[in-house]
Amino acid sequence: MPSLPVIEKDQVRHAGTAPDGGAFDAPAVDAHAAARADYCLRLGDDALVLGQRLSEWCGHAPALEVDLSLANLALDLIGQATHFLGQAGDADQLAFHRDVLDYRNCWLVEQPNGDFARTIARQWLFSTWQHLLYRALESSSDAAIAGIAAKGAKEVSYHRELAADWVVRLGDGTEESARRMAEGLDWCWRFIPELFEVDELLQGLIERGIAADPRQFEADYRAEISRVLVEAQIAAPADTRPILGGRRGHHGEHLGHLLAVMQHIPRLYPDATW
């Protein structure tokens, strides 16, 4: 009777695909580090995908000044994405060589621009949430995450005010602008619950003091949204079945198209520099 179990070839092959190559003395996979990296992907992907979406307005905005204003938001977000993805690995590699199922952004940010009002609706609903999140993350036990959030909070505070300002202008504007603003909010409304979803991974990070618990500021979020809607004279859309799953890599068809545009040059010419 052999003293050791027989090792099948399949198992050898399987071990060979592990990051450590299945080496005998490889350290155990650090689950904590993996969870932290996943969280940084979520934060980074939100910023990256929305930044890319806003960049699509470049040259197409209603006025030159608005063009610049949206491009500024995009650049702030791409800067934040670079920092957060850098915490999860090589930022460029993660941004340009990762497939759609590995993206961890929420559904709201990947939504197509639509008209200007829908872009503003998406921006306002997201920036208001992101600002509360970054403010909470400033007291994260993870110094790197707290630092990125503190820098980002100043930028996002401006995004939030700018977007809220436009919501009021369009909502309390002409008949057409009010209709478009209401339609934009209708489109985006079902993606709000995902922002406050806490899965097992996030719960673990909250308990370790690394992640912020979005449920802590959900009431503040709802209050702020209501306040601006009243000023804009728009009725809040009805709550419908929420769309969830972005954090697990479940995305809509739109994200693939966005990534195709964003990634095709680096994928065609992986070593290109300019």
Partner: protein, 94 residues
């Protein structure tokens, strides 16, 4: 859209203690948005610490056709420049 928006002149103070200087103009429907547009257009590269916007319509300008009577009389009044004084060597920073 921008055709209907009035024009605003933008002034930027580069740092504390300096004057606001005219840097250009933006289109905006009102003063609040004019300030945002000015921020996004003219202070993207840390150009300033303070911004003014003024409706272009509020600027009263001299008529270029009057530039003769307006400005030429000053041409031969060199004595208005404070350059005819001997400054003692001990006085610095002038």
């Amino acid at each position: 859209m921008s055709d209907e928006w009035p024009l605003w002149e933008v002034f930027v103070r580069a740092k504390g203690g300096l004057n606001h200087r005219h840097v250009g103009s933006v289109h905006a429907p009102d003063s609040e948005l004019a300030l945002r547009h000015a921020r996004d257009t003219y202070t993207r590269r840390e150009e300033g610490v303070s911004l003014w916007v003024v409706p272009s319509a509020s600027i009263v300008a001299s008529d270029p056709a009057d530039s003769g009577p307006m400005f030429e009389p000053a041409q031969d009044k060199v004595y208005r420049h404070p350059t005819f004084y001997d400054i003692p060597d001990v006085v610095t920073h002038i």
